[in-house]
């Protein structure tokens, strides 16, 4: 009886448990996210396989015929149109998924199904919640990115080992987007439509004007800044370097890596700050 109601735990054991949470708390959060995704693993799987086929063969190949007809066979960035857009399509998918998951997941986690409030009442810290959430989101876009990559190999769009780099590049972009979006969404207390506003006025234009479907230079000079601030453009350029060795100066490559990294780091710090404020006030 007494053992049940009042376990006489020795201090050491309590400290050890606390240390374990200190070290692994982020993973418990990520595990929670992944578990809840299992509910719709079926549709994730179908969409994961379906979208690369549709976008690469449906859109890319179809548009490719028109572009190559007009420009010649290797006219876009020195390669065929399909080779040019394939890495960008993969990354655009990652960006949209990461943004959606972080927008509605984070807002919902405070409001609709307040999982964060539950986590707060345990030994977890806000930093662990943020890290765990961003990692849990990977469980959605990394498999999708893998399907894309496999499809790209299967359709003969990419060759060689460089294509494997698409996965770490996808993780870099996904993390930058997740943390940046989280940093903003965690400050929003009521949804008066601003959530879909961001999707409409930030994410959609970023997808469309980040040198995804055509080289950034094709756009009017006044619009190039959209690409420069877009992590999608930077990572798509990295992807092009990795998959077909596009021409790129070293310093530009460094910028393409550092920019998303900086965004991820800044986003992480801001998110932790906002989560702390929101969960402890």
């Amino acid at each position: 009886m007494t053992e049940l109601l009042e376990p006489q735990r020795d201090r050491e054991q309590a400290v050890a448990e606390y240390r374990r949470v200190r070290r692994w708390g982020w993973w418990y959060v990520a595990e929670h996210r992944i578990r809840s995704m299992r509910n719709y693993v079926g549709s994730l799987f179908i969409i994961g396989i379906g979208s690369p086929i549709m976008y690469l063969l449906g859109l890319g190949a179809g548009l490719g015929v028109l572009v190559n007809q007009n420009q010649g066979d290797n006219a876009v960035d020195g390669v065929g149109y399909l080779e040019f857009i394939a890495p960008a399509l993969l990354l655009a998918g990652v960006m949209v998924t990461a943004a959606q998951e972080s927008t509605f997941g984070v807002f919902g986690g405070f409001k609709w199904t307040p999982i964060f409030l539950g986590m707060r009442d345990t030994a977890l810290t806000p930093a662990q919640i943020v890290t765990g959430f961003a990692l849990g989101t990977m469980a959605r876009y990394v498999p999708a990115a893998c399907f894309y990559m496999i499809a790209m190999y299967a359709f003969g769009i990419i060759h060689g080992w460089g294509g494997l780099l698409m996965i770490p590049i996808a993780m870099l972009l996904g993390t930058a987007i997740s943390t940046a979006v989280m940093a903003w969404v965690s400050t929003q207390r009521n949804d008066r439509g601003q959530l879909s506003f961001v999707e409409r006025f930030v994410m959609t234009p970023l997808t469309l004007f980040s040198g995804t479907y055509f080289p950034l230079e094709t756009l009017h000079e006044g619009l190039h800044w959209v690409g420069w601030i877009s992590p999608l453009w930077h990572t798509a350029e990295l992807g092009r370097l990795a998959t077909y060795g596009s021409e790129q100066t070293l310093w530009l490559t460094v910028v393409h890596i550092l920019y998303p990294v900086a965004l991820a780091v800044a986003g992480w710090f801001l998110s932790v700050r906002h989560f702390t404020k929101r969960l402890t006030s």
Binding site: N39, Y40, G42, S43, I46, I47, G50, S51, M54, Y55, G58, L59, A61, G62, L63, V65, L66, V67, N70, Q71, V76, Y81, R192, G193, S196, F197, R200, F201, T204, P205, L208, F209, Y213, F214, T218, L219, H220
Partner: protein, 266 residues
């Protein structure tokens, strides 16, 4: 008390659709007119990006033997896609949310309203949004010089016809849905339609069997119908497009009415 309504609809319809529409208008006016209005930008972004950016790479496209500038080629398609997306979103996601989360219909069905009043009201509101977007888009394309013939003005009613067809069907399909995840399947059907229905390039790049599949789908008919109107290049196919949507609307409305009980009166 004599009841003049046809008996079949007495349990479903109270002839008070206007109060449902009025509620929607009130919400738009008080709360989210900004959200509604900004929805118009989505096709415009696509038009600028694909039409202008990609257009620089592609130049022009052959449409029924006539060279059409790429932006003018995709503008009507984007209009049809926007009509489809809006109608499907309003009749699936929106209806599902209002039913199971906001419990809005539960409140409406505590009054003398019937399911048919609600369904018609939602469809009318969706069409109203569609009308706003289509008109706004027409202004943009006209300013950009992408409407090649005066018949382009008929693209607005054509967009409404497309929206009606999709909304009626969407409503019927929503009655089968149990969880939000089921909505994924709707978008899984819409994605290939969006990408393949001669939206961004002519379907003759595909093998013939695939072309037939695409031509069986509604969006292709919508795209081609509006494209004929904005380019002024008419073919006999126009009649089939219209016929396709007339049938789609009739079947959709019939189907949706049959499913109203399943949708609202569980």
């Amino acid at each position: 008390m004599t009841d003049v309504r046809p008996r079949m609809l007495a349990g479903l319809y109270a002839r008070n659709t206007r109060s449902v529409v009025a509620r929607g208008m009130r919400v738009i006016a008080r709360n989210n007119w900004l959200i509604i209005v900004t929805g118009f930008f989505e096709p415009v972004f696509y038009l600028f990006s694909m039409g202008v950016g990609l257009g620089a790479l592609i130049g022009s496209v052959q449409y029924h033997g006539v060279d059409v500038p790429y932006a003018a080629y995709i503008a009507p398609a984007l209009m049809a896609v926007s009509a489809m997306n809006g109608a499907v979103y309003d009749s699936t996601m929106n209806v599902f949310f209002k039913m199971h989360y906001a419990k809005l219909y539960q409140g409406m069905l505590s009054t003398s309203l019937g399911p048919l009043d609600i369904a018609l009201g939602e469809i009318i509101l969706a069409l109203f949004r569609g009308l706003l977007y289509a008109s706004g888009f027409m202004v943009v394309t006209t300013l950009m010089g992408l409407n090649l013939a005066w018949t382009a003005i008929f693209a607005i009613p054509a967009a409404l016809i497309i929206a009606f067809g999709f909304a009626a069907f969407g409503m019927a399909i929503t009655s089968f849905m149990k969880t939000f995840q089921h909505l994924d399947f709707v978008f899984f059907i819409m994605m290939p339609m969006f990408l393949l229905s001669a939206t961004f390039f002519p379907i003759d790049v595909y093998p013939e069997p695939l072309q037939w599949v695409i031509m069986a789908m509604p969006l292709w008919h919508g795209v081609d119908m509006i494209r004929m109107l904005t380019t002024g290049i008419f073919e006999q196919a126009m009649i089939y497009h219209l016929l396709y949507f007339v049938i789609m609307i009739v079947v959709g409305v019939f189907f949706a009415t049959r499913r109203l009980k399943a949708l609202f009166l569980r």
